[in-house]
């Protein structure tokens, strides 16, 4: 019995169930002959609820590692995952895992799934096909976030496209065909570039460069190295690729067509992710797709699909290509700023309610990009990394917050559209009297999107703006002023729709308040928006250690590679004196976030030991051998290698370097 329970709660079962339950549901819906339309919808809803329950179970403190009261992923690493062979000849593994970076997004996806399904109850055409495709989409989205094998990631990434094409193309608005094919073409163009990058990563990776400890940490059986003498062992393992990129002599520093291969990888991946995010010159698919898609699909499109871009940037671009991230921090930040400003201005100019919400997504996702891209690390200045930790945390928080608010806004627009069948802002007005409950919920969600303190949108934006000040004050000023633009279009919209003169459009008699079903969708979103706004630690606790760890690794890289070029061109390396007032802002942020770990550190004496923020938690680790603290691990590469174990089979590019360099530098 005990064994059965253990087997059922093993990562293999739980994670596979999260991904494949919707898939099985889709198959069932597709072939089950005797389900009525209503039953099909209810069945699909239960599938998505089941997935949500599984994910929520993982979020319970102690559920993952059995340590009572401990939040999952407090070590910032993949603690819950498994890897089994898929196509071993190519080094492709069925590797699913959760850490702090993907768990919030999985949670978001699992939460929006049932809500969007509930919102789909209004669909009345070809219901079985709709539900099957919806569940397929759900499986694909969860798979993208959970899979840690690059090949598997790519497969899921593309799996999302197919149902999305049909969901927009069949059930969409008047220009659905154009929107669907544009969405498909843009994303595919980005993803084939990603495919080239993936091939580059694969062929330049070599697992022989990693020691046994790192291999095990990446869930790779060191036995894969045996019997491959003299031949490189390539990998698709995302964690291993990141480990390789952290080596003192990364295999991705090699030359390829005149540039380091990591620069190629960075841009090829980045373009794919920027299309998905979307960032401004590549965003044009978004307004069309969002506007034409049916309401529940718009919710998922804005709520989840856009996050795939942000997730990819964080998980791949910045962990695997730190040198390119450093080198191109300015261009990426510029793209982010342009997205923010352009999106906000474009939103202001819309008269279509849904289009306005779509452009607000462009603007809001710009914050995500800015938070990720604002490189604040100055080599040798341990305090500098806290700002980036903050920026990245802000980016992740913004992704979740935007997932909640944009899904909410699209749903709310859908509610009035269902009633009056148009979305012309100029005809709305006075809805507060006709639909009081609807208006109250709308105000919460719209204000959350605006970034009103106390609601979820504020936290992420604030962190990002503060962190970008450290990058360059001008950037922060522009970013902060976008908040005003956002307030402008949101308040204007609220004024036009909910207050103001009477409703002037067609079907005024249909403007009745929300039905029970609609309330079941809107209330959870509004409640989440409030909770995340007043108690951010609830979410920060899950991803903070992972983000801290990511930044720590980037800082280690910077310490190793940038010390000679501190004064050279590149991102702003302001001495701390110029940003004296920042600590006070930080402390206010910290109080807001209930002194979450990683934000209380500016009080550390400068020049103190470069302990990563996560080390506090790492010290509680019981299994020190297989999981060294981040600091130790960052320097294990040369310092703690068990000499003679693997060295015979290893041809290290850095072999000529004196041993222990990394260790010394890491502690400097």
């Amino acid at each position: 019995m005990q064994q059965l329970a253990e087997a059922l709660t093993s990562p293999f079962v739980i994670l596979s169930a999260i991904v494949f339950l919707p898939l099985l549901g889709a198959l069932t819906v597709a072939v089950a002959p005797r389900l009525t339309e209503e039953e099909t919808k209810i069945f699909s809803l239960w599938i998505t609820i089941l997935v949500l329950i599984l994910v929520l179970w993982l979020a319970i403190p102690g559920a993952v590692d059995g340590r009572l009261g401990s939040l999952p992923w407090d070590q910032g690493r993949v603690q819950y995952g498994f890897s089994v062979g898929w196509i071993e000849a190519f080094g492709v593994y069925y590797f699913l895992g959760l850490d702090g970076i993907n768990f919030p997004l999985v949670l978001l996806t699992a939460l929006l799934g049932p809500l969007a399904m509930l919102a789909s109850f209004g669909i009345d055409r070809q219901v079985r096909a709709y539900c099957a495709l919806f569940l397929l989409l759900h499986a694909g989205m969860l798979g993208v976030f959970i899979s840690l094998d690059l090949f598997l990631f790519y497969v899921f990434w593309e799996v999302v496209l197919l149902p999305m094409y049909f969901l927009i193309g069949v059930w969409g608005g008047p220009r659905k065909e154009y929107a669907a094919i544009k969405f498909f073409l843009f994303t595919l163009a980005g993803s084939v570039l990603m495919l080239v990058a993936i091939l580059l990563l694969y062929f330049y990776s070599d697992l022989r460069l990693l020691n046994e400890v790192s291999l095990r940490a990446c869930q790779i059986d060191p036995a894969v190295l045996s019997g491959k003498r003299g031949q490189a062992v390539h990998t698709f393992n995302m964690l291993a690729l990141a480990e390789l990129a952290r080596l003192p002599q990364s295999p991705f520093d090699q030359d390829f067509w005149g540039l380091p291969v990591s620069v190629w990888i960075f841009w090829l991946l980045m373009i794919g992710f920027l299309i998905k995010l979307p960032a401004v010159p590549l965003h044009t698919w978004l307004p069309d797709a969002h506007v034409e898609a049916p309401t529940p699909i718009s919710m998922l499109l804005a709520g989840v699909l856009l996050k795939m871009g942000g997730y990819g940037i964080l998980r791949l671009c910045y962990t695997i290509c730190p040198d390119a991230a450093y080198q191109f921090a300015w261009p990426i930040c510029a793209v982010a700023l342009v997205s923010m400003v352009y999106g906000a201005l474009a939103a202001m100019a819309q008269s279509d309610f849904k289009r306005l919400v779509a452009y607000s997504s462009v603007s809001h996702m710009g914050y995500v990009l800015l938070g990720l891209a604002a490189w604040t690390i100055v080599p040798g200045d341990p305090s500098s990394r806290h700002y980036w930790t903050m920026g990245m945390s802000g980016a992740v928080y913004q992704m979740i917050a935007h997932g909640i608010t944009s899904a909410g806004m699209f749903f709310l627009v859908g509610v009035v559209y269902d009633r009056v069948h148009h979305r012309d802002l100029s005809q709305f007005g006075g809805l507060f009297n006709r639909m009081p409950f609807y208006s109250a919920v709308s105000l919460i969600i719209f204000f959350a999107a605006m970034g009103l303190p106390g609601l979820c949108g504020f936290i992420g934006e604030f962190f990002v703006v503060v962190a970008s000040w450290r990058f360059y004050p001008g950037v922060a000023m522009v970013a902060a002023s976008v908040v005003i633009l956002t307030a402008g279009y949101i308040l204007w919209t609220v004024a036009r729709v909910f207050f103001g003169p009477q409703y002037r459009g067609p079907h005024p008699e249909a403007l009745t308040d929300m039905t029970v079903r609609e309330k079941w969708v809107a209330i959870p979103l509004a409640v989440t928006a409030v909770i995340l706004g007043i108690y951010p630690k609830l979410l920060l606790g899950y991803f903070q250690p992972s983000v801290t760890r990511t930044v720590y690794h980037l800082a280690t890289w910077a310490d190793r590679h940038l010390e000679t070029s501190t004064t050279a061109t590149g991102p702003q390396a302001k001495p701390l004196g110029e940003t004296k007032f920042v600590p006070s802002q930080i402390s206010s942020a910290a109080s807001l976030s209930q002194t979450s770990p990683g934000l209380a550190h500016p009080s550390l004496p400068h020049g103190g030991p470069a302990r990563p923020d996560g080390s506090k938690n790492s010290s509680t680790e019981t299994d020190g051998a297989s999981a060294p603290s981040p600091l130790a691990e960052g320097s294990t590469v040369t310092g703690q290698r068990p000499e003679g174990v693997l060295d015979q089979a290893i041809v290290r590019p850095g072999a000529d370097q004196p041993k222990g360099t990394g260790l010394v530098e890491g502690r400097r």
């Binding site: 597709a30 898929w86 196509i87 071993e88 000849a89 190519f90 096909a129 790519y154 497969v155 593309e158 799996v159 496209l161 197919l162 094409y165 049909f166 193309g169 069949v170 659905k176 065909e177 669907a180 094919i181 498909f184 073409l185 595919l188 163009a189 084939v192 570039l193 495919l195 080239v196 091939l199 580059l200 694969y202 062929f203 090699q254 030359d255 390829f256 067509w257 005149g258 291969v261």
Partner: protein, 562 residues
């Protein structure tokens, strides 16, 4: 039997010994040979049966597809039973049964089985000509099997002609149809001309080496070595011979300068025949081209030409892994140059096919261009393989394996989409894309299957088409052909648009008025056939490791000859 010589020195009495050895065949050996060609014998037996059946049973024609199915199943069962176990050269060296040849024979016979099942479901051929139709199909398949296992120039010529001639007649099987007749004539004329060119090339190479047996030719070329390139006459004979042979097979593969017959022929022929030509005949031509390139390219790959500084010909092959700083070029070797040229032609073919497909209004014509594009992907792989020939292990093997794998996946998905076309034609009586608007809406099975075929042809995961493209691009990347990879992925995006257009027309567009009037819904067997192929593509997209391992072994066996 062992007259393959690794180095190249041929002893004076070699041919005499060879002949003496050949004629001293024991009856046991003969039995072994006959056993090896049992599937071909089954095909021949079916052909003979068809020939005499018209005489013996005049009313027999109505059951033709049953007999065809029996013959095809018998042949494929025999081929599968014989397995991939290499037998070596048989019939005194005119055929070679290595794993490569046997694998392609299995592919071809599987294509035959699927084709016979498909045609018996689609009501083309009409019963009046069914016997003749299957006779031609079986004859062509027999020739293709010989193409895949040919080891001797006579068998190369025989196989190529046996495969082509029935094809000309098959295209014109609807003899009242003006388009079909025109297509048949066009196909026959161009086919005859390019066959002539190919045979001229073969004779030049035979004259150069003084041999017609492929391994002997390999050995002779190897023994000539670098010396060959100092003699202008021999060099030009070699160059012309190679170009002519590649041109002849390029016609069958519809590579770019020799592609123009494809759309016309596919539009004129029925969708069934189009499917057969685009699958079986492409596979056979591919097998033969690969075998010839390896046989002739491998010895040439060892030789290096003095003018290695001329890098303009090997721009496609940069090898970044060995370079630090500036990219270096692989030294110019004739075989590599040939491979690079083929890669260039393939890249053009692929791009042209994908771009030209945009403007098509006829479904079969569009699929013809899609066939051209896929031939381009396949030829890219072969070109890259020829470009990396000197290293027998690793890169070249993986390239060949990925080409074989791609071919096997292509077989399923292309036959699937042609079957969909045929069933749609039966249902709606049209093959114009716009006229099919909404055609899949009332038939989820057809729609799901068509979507799977089209997305697999585009190369979207998790379908087998993606895995095929992936291993191909990965192999090209590994060998350093990044520019081909780039061209390949860009082409994938190009191709999405027109494949998606078919999906859109079938699934999303509003039906136009008269569509329902001739509607004649698909039988369950037709749906099962389509869904079966689609399921195979999904399953193969998830568990493709096994098939790829088989392809890898086949590639190894082919390269072992060099």
């Amino acid at each position: 039997m062992h007259f393959r010589e690794k180095s190249g020195s041929i002893s004076p009495g070699f041919m005499e010994r060879l002949l003496a050895e050949k004629w001293s065949t024991s009856s046991g050996e003969l039995l072994r040979w006959l056993e090896a060609v049992a599937p071909e014998i089954a095909l021949t037996g079916t052909i003979v049966f068809f020939l005499i059946s018209r005489m013996l049973f005049p009313r027999f024609r109505y059951g033709a597809h049953i007999w065809a199915m029996a013959g095809a199943f018998l042949a494929v069962a025999l081929a599968l039973g014989a397995g991939l176990r290499p037998v070596g050269e048989i019939f005194s060296g005119v055929l070679v049964h290595d794993e490569f040849g046997r694998l392609f024979r299995i592919f071809l016979l599987c294509a035959l089985v699927l084709f016979v099942v498909f045609t018996s479901l689609s009501r083309i051929p009409p019963p009046v000509v069914a016997t003749e139709f299957y006779l031609l199909v079986f004859g062509a398949t027999l020739g293709m099997c010989f193409m895949a296992t040919a080891n001797h120039l006579v068998m190369v010529m025989l196989g190529a002609e046996m495969a082509s001639l029935p094809g000309y007649a098959l295209v014109g099987i609807k003899k009242q149809d003006r388009l079909a007749t025109e297509a048949a004539l066009k196909y026959a004329i161009f086919g005859a001309a390019t066959s002539g060119i190919m045979f001229f090339g073969l004779s030049l190479l035979a004259a150069l080496t003084g041999a017609v047996h492929l391994p002997t030719m390999t050995a002779r070329l190897a023994s000539m070595g670098n010396e060959l390139f100092n003699r202008p006459a021999e060099l030009s004979a070699l160059t012309l011979g190679l170009i002519f042979v590649v041109a002849g097979l390029g016609f069958k593969l519809s590579l770019v300068p020799f592609h123009f017959w494809t759309p016309d022929v596919f539009e004129g022929a029925t969708a069934e025949v189009g499917g057969f030509l685009s699958v079986a005949s492409k596979l056979a031509a591919l097998a033969l081209l690969t075998r010839l390139l390896v046989a002739w390219g491998a010895p040439l790959a060892q030789a290096e030409v003095g003018v290695a500084s001329d890098v303009s010909l090997c721009l496609l092959a940069t090898d970044p892994s060995t370079s630090q700083g500036s990219p270096t070029f692989v030294p110019l070797r004739p075989a590599n140059t040939m491979g690079n040229l083929l890669g260039l032609v393939a890249a053009l073919t692929c791009t042209f096919g994908n771009l030209a497909a945009y403007g098509q209004t006829n479904l079969k014509r569009l699929l013809a261009y899609s066939t051209i594009a896929h031939a381009g992907y396949l030829a890219m792989g072969i070109g890259a393989a020829a470009g990396t020939l000197p290293s027998f292990s690793g890169e070249c093997r993986q390239l060949l394996a990925s080409v074989i794998f791609y071919a096997s996946v292509y077989l399923l998905m292309n036959l699937g989409i042609f079957a969909t076309t045929a069933f749609l034609r039966n249902k709606f009586g049209t093959e114009e894309i716009d006229a099919l608007a909404g055609g899949g809406r009332d038939d989820p099975a057809l729609l799901v299957a068509a979507t799977v075929f089209l997305f697999s042809l585009t190369g979207l995961p998790p379908l087998a088409g993606f895995m095929a493209k992936f291993v191909l691009f990965a192999a090209m990347a590994r060998a350093g052909f990044w520019s081909l990879v780039l061209i390949g992925v860009v082409n994938t995006v190009f191709s999405l648009f027109y494949y998606l257009r078919i999906v859109r027309v079938l699934a999303i567009d509003e039906p136009r008025g008269m569509l329902g009037s001739v509607a004649d819904s698909l039988s369950w067997a037709q749906r099962a056939f389509l869904l079966g192929l689609a399921a195979a593509l999904v399953i193969l997209g998830i568990w493709w490791g096994g098939l790829f391992a088989v392809c890898e072994r086949a590639a190894t066996s082919l390269l072992a000859l060099g």
